[in-house]
Symmetry: none
Subunit: 209 residues, 4 copies
DNA sequence: AGTTAACCGAGACGGTACGTCATGTCTTTAC
DNA sequence: GTAAAGACATGACGTACCGTCTCGGTTAACT
């Protein structure tokens, strides 16, 4: 194997410049008109330095988005899912944050671009899902499992289905632009889903008294 | 006005050949590697004939997809949404058909391509949504309104939300490939949604007697 | 055969612009730093238009040189070799003109570049020799044959060798820069060669009287 | 002064490997496709080691050729020009050897490459001429001077011209490929030149006795 | 029936970006 | 401090498509 470059010699400076340039440019011109040459030029970097470390512009954007969510977490976002004991409130909180992110151009452009690219390119799609999406879904699922353990949700609830019922309709509306995003929308969504799976606020024990 | 070509002299032969070539090629090479030159070559048509009638390759694909759903209807698909009186059954039927379409490569490739392109290109996205998506969603909504009228759903049900809760999670799983598509999945989905919105099989009138 | 482009549709305007740009640039930056991109840019032409009609930058330069010698002829140069009856004088005249051409930067740069490229690239070399060199050598040979017919040169003279003895040393000095070029040099050259092959001014018949 | 490297610490091993690699590669791929990277890789050497000691790939090849002619001499070639007393025979001998060298691929490729490069690059050309060509021409000239001293050539013979009349036509035919090289060709060449400059076999003194 | 205006297949054109290759510089690690 | 190794910014390569633009040649429809 003499193919892969030596990662220990990699220039961190160039790496950051490339990711930053990619994020900036995708916001300026959109994904389709985003070119590797433009990224390289904006980053003050040779094209080869991009090709050496990434297989495609989509992959660059994926890494850029990963670094973006990394920053978001550091900047005071949530690492752990909120758990106030009130599942409905917690879900509404998180979905409202998600709505806000979708409405923030800074997140919208690259995320939309990646989602679209991933839908078309299976390889990228897989990595996008595994590295960006799944970790977030796992947080939802963990919070729901807590609720199950607390007896607030039936033990046989299909948590995966439930997570996607929360995230899916929001993502759908965002991607397809069928209607404007709003907090009221996700709040209502949470209510219907929770009622649908048989969520109870108080413990069955109390009800049985 | 010398801009728009004379549609009456348009060659139907070429139009069909172009749409067919576009569908074939998007299945073979994917949307990103689909080129207008290749479509023209495959269709045995001059490039100008494409540029004369469509503004972009996405627009060609959109028309191609429209013609595809037109065919689907003619081939014995459903025009009207099924209405057996059993809402749950009807929804499950339609969603199962949708699952089958997503699993059919013939539909998957162009639809996925269009969805992705529409997510990135607002103009195209709008037309995609209006011309392909909305008509389908309207059918769902009409069927749900029937159920409301029949007293099976609360009068104040947010039908739009409900439709997207049915279609959104399925589309999400399909686009993101978070899990394999299956009839059981959509069946469960329908059950949760219906329970969530307070669906009742029998009429309240009967219950109240 | 669907490979070769349709020459009847070729843009004469572009062709001329490319040849002119090539000649200008080879004079400005030299052959090694001459790039196809620069030719295209200077000519206001797409790169593909060059690649469509020529296989290499050397081939472009060859055509450019051919057009140059074409012009030279039209501009009042000699088509036919001079024939005053005095072979020595005629040869000296032509070689002096050749010296002048070698000293003219306008001819020197492209010719030198082509000669060098042809020395290294057999294909190009062959075409260079056949299309540019041989026609000139043939003129020499024709003039010498006239002299043979006039009895000024022995009937069994190796004309080919003689031509190369006239042209070779001059070309050698020009290419290798072993010494400055000068009219006196070629005059002396002609004298030695003519004496070497047994040139006589007057006819043997007169001598025998 | 931090410019020039310390030659005393230079690795002789690397130097030889680089020159050998250069000669091998120029034979394999030709001068135009010869790259410094390939030379470094083939020689098992870092690129910088080449750049440290040579200014260009042409310079490497020049050194390589110099080492080649050095070897040729050691392998039993001639250091001194032959001097049997018979000038015609001596010249024919040397030119035949030259023809043989031109026909030997091992010499042809690098020499042709250097000649071509030198024709285009004045700096290299000068060094090529001074270091490789002139020493050889000087040998010719020395032998001719001997002949002048022996009274076989007129005292006022332009020796420089004469040398180039011997070497020029051969080099011309070799470089331009106007005709195949052959011993008969150079033999005839010598004869014409010698006759042209007034070569006499026997000494005038003896004739006058 | 002849004219004419448009579409049509074809493909050359000026461009932009691609992904690759080599340049010459620089830095790191080993000797 | 030279050397092997190789990452880097630069820039040209030759290719693929873009969208525009002629070019005949075929169809209409309208004289």
């Amino acid at each position: 194997m003499s193919k892969s470059p030596d990662a220990t010699r990699r220039s961190e400076r160039s790496r950051r410049a490339i990711l930053d340039a990619a994020l900036t440019l995708v916001g300026e011109v959109g994904y389709n008109k985003l070119t590797i040459e433009a990224i390289a030029a904006r980053a003050g970097v040779g094209k080869q330095t991009i090709y050496r470390w990434w297989p495609s512009k989509a992959a660059v954007l994926l890494d850029a988005s990963l670094s973006l969510s990394g920053e978001a977490v550091e900047e005071g976002g949530w690492t752990g899912f909120p758990d106030t004991g009130d599942l409905a409130a917690d879900l509404k909180t998180v979905l409202r944050i998600t709505v806000d992110q979708f409405l923030d151009e800074r997140y919208d452009a690259p995320t939309r671009a990646l989602t679209a690219a991933g839908a078309t390119d299976p390889d990228l799609g897989t990595r996008f899902t595994e590295q960006l999406l799944e970790p977030q879904l796992a947080l939802y699922e963990a919070r729901l499992r807590t609720a199950v353990d607390a007896g607030q949700l039936p033990a046989d609830t299909d948590l995966r289905l439930m997570v996607e019922m929360l995230v899916g309709p929001l993502t759908y509306r965002w991607l397809m632009r069928t209607a404007p995003l709003a907090h009221a929308h996700t709040d209502a969504l949470v209510d219907v889903v929770l009622r649908g799976v048989g969520y109870v606020t108080t413990r069955p024990a109390a009800a049985g008294a």
